[in-house]
C-alpha cells in the first residue's frame, strides 16, 4: 500500500547573503494510515522547514531536493491545480500559534466552513452548517459555540477550532506543527487525547512536530529525532524515549524527568553548548562539539543513519561498548 506520506532524501536549503544555508539535510520518513509519527528537535533543527515542504508552503527562495510524496505523488513538482486540490482535501496542516492563525474578525463557523466552500462548492448552505456542527462535535466543542469569535475562546478551544478546520475536507493526512506549545499541561493532555482519538476513529495519518520529546512519546507510534537538519535517531516512541541510543536523543529524553525518579532529584540533566550554526556546520558529526562520548572518528566523517536492532541511529558509537 502506498504510504500517505513519504519523504525520500529531502533536503532544503536557503540562499542567504552569507551563503547557502542548509535547513534540512537528507531526511527519509514514512507516515502510513492510522499511524502517528513524531518529529522531535529544537529550534533551528529544520523541523518547521520540513513541515512547510509537505504542502509546498516553503518560502520561494528555498531550494528543495529529493521527493515529498503525498499519497504517492510528488508535491514539489505537481501542477498548481493538483496542489490546490491536495491541500486541505488530502493533507491538512494545523499551524503553530492558534491565536495568530485565526482571523479575529470572523466567526469560527465561517472560518471552519472556508475550506469546505473552496473544495466542495456544490455543498448547500444547510449541508455546510451541518458539517461545521459535526466538526465542532468531533473536536469537543459544543455546536452552539459556532457563532463566537476567536477572542472569546481560550487557547485550548482555539486549538480545537484549528483542528476542526484541518478536518473539514476529510484529509487522509494531518500535520500538526507544535500543537500544544503554549498550552497548559491539562489542556495539552486534552488536545493530545483529541488527536489520538481522531487517528483511532478516522484512521488518518498524523505527523506531529514538537520540541518536547515527552509529549511525542505519549501519543506517537514512531518518533524521529532531528539535529542540525538530519534525523539522528528514529524508532518506536517507547524505544526513543526510554532507551535512546544517540547521545543527543538521550539528552532530550533526560531533559524531562519522571516525577518520582530519584536520580533526577536536584540533578536536572542538561546539555552544554548551543546547536551549531547551519552556515558553519562542524566537520564530521554535527553533534560532536556537544557530545560527551566523542571520539576521533566522529569528527572525520558525518555518520550515516544506520539500522541498529529495530531502529535507526546516526552515531558511530552505537553498538560499541
Amino acid at each position: 500500500m502506498t504510504p500517505l506520506l513519504a519523504l525520500r532524501g529531502l533536503s532544503v536549503a536557503y540562499q542567504t547573503g552569507e551563503g547557502r544555508l542548509p535547513a534540512v539535510r537528507g531526511v527519509d520518513l514514512v507516515v502510513r494510515a492510522g499511524e502517528v509519527v513524531g518529529i522531535a528537535g529544537e529550534s533551528g533543527c529544520g523541523k518547521s522547514t520540513l513541515a512547510s515542504t509537505l504542502l509546498r508552503l516553503q518560502p520561494k527562495d528555498a531550494l528543495v531536493e529529493g521527493e515529498v510524496l503525498v499519497a504517492g505523488r510528488d508535491v514539489q513538482t505537481m501542477g498548481w491545480g493538483d496542489l490546490r486540490a491536495l491541500r486541505w482535501a488530502q493533507a491538512a496542516i494545523v499551524f503553530q500559534g492558534a491565536l495568530h492563525s485565526l482571523n479575529p474578525v470572523r466567526r469560527i463557523e465561517t472560518q471552519i466552513a472556508e475550506p469546505l466552500r473552496l473544495h466542495e462548492p456544490d455543498l448547500s448552505a444547510a449541508a455546510v452548517s451541518a458539517r461545521v456542527a459535526e466538526l465542532l462535535e468531533q473536536v469537543g466543542l459544543p455546536a452552539t459555540r459556532s457563532r463566537v469569535y476567536p477572542h472569546q475562546l481560550s487557547g485550548g478551544q482555539r486549538q480545537r477550532v484549528m483542528i476542526a478546520m484541518a478536518l473539514a475536507c476529510r484529509p487522509q493526512l494531518i500535520v500538526a506543527d507544535e500543537p500544544t506549545t503554549a498550552l497548559d499541561v491539562m489542556v495539552q493532555a486534552q488536545i493530545l487525547d483529541l488527536l489520538s482519538g481522531l487517528v483511532r476513529d478516522l484512521g488518518v495519518g498524523l505527523l506531529i512536530i514538537s520540541h518536547d520529546l515527552s509529549v511525542l512519546s505519549d501519543v506517537c507510534d514512531r518518533v524521529a529525532v532531528m539535529y542540525a537538519g538530519r534525523v539522528v535517531e528514529c524508532g518506536s516512541a517507547e524505544q526513543v524515549f526510554t532507551s535512546p541510543t544517540h547521545p543527543y536523543a538521550q539528552a532530550l529524553a533526560r531533559a524531562f524527568p519522571r516525577v518520582g525518579d530519584a536520580t533526577a532529584r536536584y540533578a536536572p540533566a542538561g546539555l552544554a553548548g548551543d546547536p551549531p550554526d547551519p552556515l558553519d556546520l562542524p566537520q564530521g558529526c554535527a553533534f560532536a562539539p556537544r557530545c560527551a562520548r566523542v571520539v576521533e572518528a566522529c569528527v572525520e566523517e558525518e555518520p550515516p543513519l544506520l539500522q541498529v536492532g529495530g531502529r535507526q541511529s546516526a552515531c558511530i558509537r552505537v553498538g560499541q561498548a
Partner: protein, 333 residues
C-alpha cells in the same frame, strides 16, 4: 523565638476590576513562605494566580487584602521602600527574549540595576562597574563575560538571554530570586542547564528561590517545597516528595497524571479549563471539575455537601504537608 522566613505572604488577596466592571479575584487568601537557601515551586495552570502571586511577592503588585513580609517586616509601598526591596528581592520574568530592551547591549542591561542602586560606590572590594558586570555574567554561567558585552539581545540564543536576565538580577546581590517560568520558552537541551544554574546559585550564594511553573518535572528537578495553586488559592503544599509522590488533592493527582512521558498511573484528564476568576464556585472552588466529586467518591465519604457549600480555610504556609480538600479531611476516607 523563631527566625521569621525571608519572604512570606500572609492572607494575600488581589482583586482586579475588569473592563466590564466586575471584580476578578486573582488571589483569594494565600499564605506562602520562603527561607534563605530554600527553593519553593508555585505550581498551577494559567489562571491559577501563580504569576500574580510572584508579582505581589516582589512588590510589583499591591495586595488588596493581607500583606507580604520581608524578614517579618510588612512591605511598604512608598517609592523608597520599594527600591530598597528591589535590592533584596529580584525577579526574572517569563519571556526572556522580551524582557531585554532591544536597544540595550548585554552590558547595559546588566549594568542597569548596578547604576540604579549605585552598587559601584557601595562595593566593598572597590570594583569598577565593568568588573561587577563581568562578575555577574560569570556567575550566571556566561564565560568569558567580556565576549558578549557588546551583543544585542537578538544576537543571543534563548539560553544566553535567560542567563543575561539572571545575571542582571544577581548583580544586585539579592537574597531572594523569583523566577517566572524560567525554562518554558527554552529548548529542551538548554532547560537542564538553566535549572542547574538556579540550583547552583542556591548552593553557592545561599539564595532563596521562588520558581513559578506549570511544569511538575521542573519542581521535581529542583524544588524543596511545592505549593499547588488553583484559582487564586494554594490547595496543597508540603515538601516536594510529599506533594508529588503522595498527592492528596484530586487536582494535584490529576496534574501529575497528565505529565507527558510519565508512566501514567490512571490518565486523569480533567474537562474544561480553570474557571473565570470573576465567578469563583462556592464551597470548594475545584468541585465543578473534581473527578472525585463527579464519580461519587465524595458523596460516598458523605462530604459532597461540604464540597458544594463549605468554603475551605487558607492553608498555612509552613510546616507539614497540608491539603485543602473536604474529601482528604474526611475521617472515613
Amino acid at each position: 523565638m523563631t527566625v521569621p522566613p525571608l519572604l512570606e505572604a500572609a492572607g494575600v488577596g488581589v482583586d482586579f476590576t475588569t473592563r466590564a466592571g466586575t471584580v476578578a479575584t486573582a488571589l483569594d487568601g494565600v499564605d506562602v513562605a520562603v527561607r534563605s537557601g530554600e527553593i519553593l515551586a508555585l505550581v498551577g495552570e494559567s489562571g491559577s494566580g501563580k504569576t500574580t502571586l510572584a508579582r505581589t511577592l516582589v512588590g510589583l503588585q499591591r495586595p488588596t487584602t493581607g500583606e507580604v513580609r520581608f524578614e517579618g517586616e510588612p512591605l511598604s509601598y512608598t517609592g523608597r521602600a520599594q527600591r530598597r526591596l528591589c535590592g533584596e528581592v529580584q525577579m526574572v520574568l517569563q519571556d526572556a527574549a522580551g524582557s531585554l530592551s532591544p536597544r540595550q547591549t548585554v552590558y547595559e542591561s546588566v549594568a542597569e540595576g548596578i547604576r540604579l542602586h549605585r552598587r559601584v560606590a557601595g562595593d566593598p572590594a572597590g570594583r569598577t562597574e565593568a568588573e561587577l558586570v563581568a562578575a555577574a555574567l560569570a556567575e550566571a554561567g556566561l564565560r568569558p563575560p567580556e565576549r558578549i558585552f557588546l551583543r544585542y539581545p537578538h544576537e543571543l540564543s534563548g539560553g544566553q538571554q535567560q542567563r543575561v536576565l539572571i545575571a542582571g538580577a544577581l548583580a544586585l546581590r539579592p537574597r531572594l530570586l523569583v523566577a517566572d517560568e524560567p525554562v518554558s520558552s527554552l529548548d529542551a537541551s538548554i532547560r537542564g542547564e538553566i535549572l542547574g544554574l538556579l540550583l547552583g546559585l542556591r548552593d553557592s550564594l545561599g539564595l532563596g528561590l521562588v520558581v513559578v511553573t506549570h511544569d511538575l518535572g521542573l519542581a521535581w528537578n529542583i524544588a524543596d517545597r511545592v505549593a499547588v495553586m488553583y484559582l487564586g488559592r494554594v490547595i496543597e503544599c508540603g515538601t516536594t516528595e510529599e506533594v508529588l509522590e503522595s498527592p492528596q488533592h484530586p487536582y494535584t493527582r490529576a496534574l501529575l497524571s497528565v505529565v507527558p512521558g510519565a508512566e501514567r498511573l490512571t490518565p486523569l484528564v480533567l474537562h474544561g479549563e480553570v474557571p473565570d476568576p470573576t465567578r469563583i464556585p462556592s464551597g470548594c472552588r475545584f468541585h465543578p471539575r473534581c473527578p472525585s466529586y463527579a464519580d461519587g467518591t465524595a458523596a460516598g465519604a458523605r462530604v459532597a455537601d461540604h464540597c458544594r457549600r463549605t468554603a475551605l480555610p487558607v492553608l498555612a504556609a509552613t510546616g507539614n504537608h497540608r491539603v485543602a480538600c473536604h474529601l482528604a479531611a474526611a475521617p472515613d476516607f
